[in-house]
Symmetry: C2
Amino acid sequence: MVNYPNGRANQKSIVHKTPAASRGMHLEKELDHTNEYYHSLGKAIIHKKPTPIQVVKVDYMKRSAAKISEAYYKTPSTTDYNGVYKGKAIDFEAKETQSKSSFPLSSIHLHQIRHLEAVLKQDAIAFVIIRFCYYDETYYVEAAKLIDIYQGKRRSIPYSWFQENAFLIPYSLTPPIDYLKVIDSQLQKEK
Amino acid sequence: MVNYPNGRANQKSIVHKTPAASRGMHLEKELDHTNEYYHSLGKAIIHKKPTPIQVVKVDYMKRSAAKISEAYYKTPSTTDYNGVYKGKAIDFEAKETQSKSSFPLSSIHLHQIRHLEAVLKQDAIAFVIIRFCYYDETYYVEAAKLIDIYQGKRRSIPYSWFQENAFLIPYSLTPPIDYLKVIDSQLQKEK
């Protein structure tokens, strides 16, 4: 092991950053892989919604192909992911942060919080997946808990809060983010 | 009443085309209104998914605004509408036809049928809303029935089939397409 100037190895960066880099995937890709895996096994059907785009101008060069030549990104009015698992509606948002200390609430839009509230009232399984890239940890946060915090005056949620109040989703290769495990254990408790 | 050359009024076109025209809305808009109505009453949360678009080129003229200058429509891999009603996942596609005699199966993509099959296996409430514009009639077709027909060698489904096998959704102003009524009666039967 290399000796560092201050006499100790910077273990945290070695332990946590290497696997993330070698995996070479970001949260969205890992969720895509996870959802494809669930789909292939017939476990659940979950899709990422397309990004909403306002189309302004379309050129029809050929009859068959339309080229969009002017368009703008719109703010999403819902969460990014939804689908069905054992008849139950699933609805969630996914975010990652580079911060070591806290998750900034500004990265979730107010209307996304409103959407989570609305689907919770309809008894959907609603949650947010939050990754702390620095620690390479991915948490499952129940929507109800996040909504509570959002309604307070906090601008961010400290990292320690996640360790105490959220579920750490263990990393595996297939699937990378096995969030149905958390849902299963929650459904089990309800019984 | 105007006397027509052949001695009889073309009643069908008067009766059916006027209300549709005066409503001035197409199926998609009426479904938007319906879903907003359900949302406002807290009855169900159903959204139309954004159209999937492949973005090729983005110009950043200002820091704040990104202009998409080259993009193309992608074929959707799922149905257009989904959400949650009483905890149950809802998933459907909506199509209209100008034909008087039949609904062409080519207007529903094979991967949309596959998607309906997949969500049905997960116990979602899955269906297709089909409007015959000429008759100004909107039908609720259970996904299972449509999938059965799709697997045969038919290219279209005759209008009479809908009268016998699908549920006619009665038109009202609020909401224009009260499809939850059909779902309620189906859920009632299951009990």
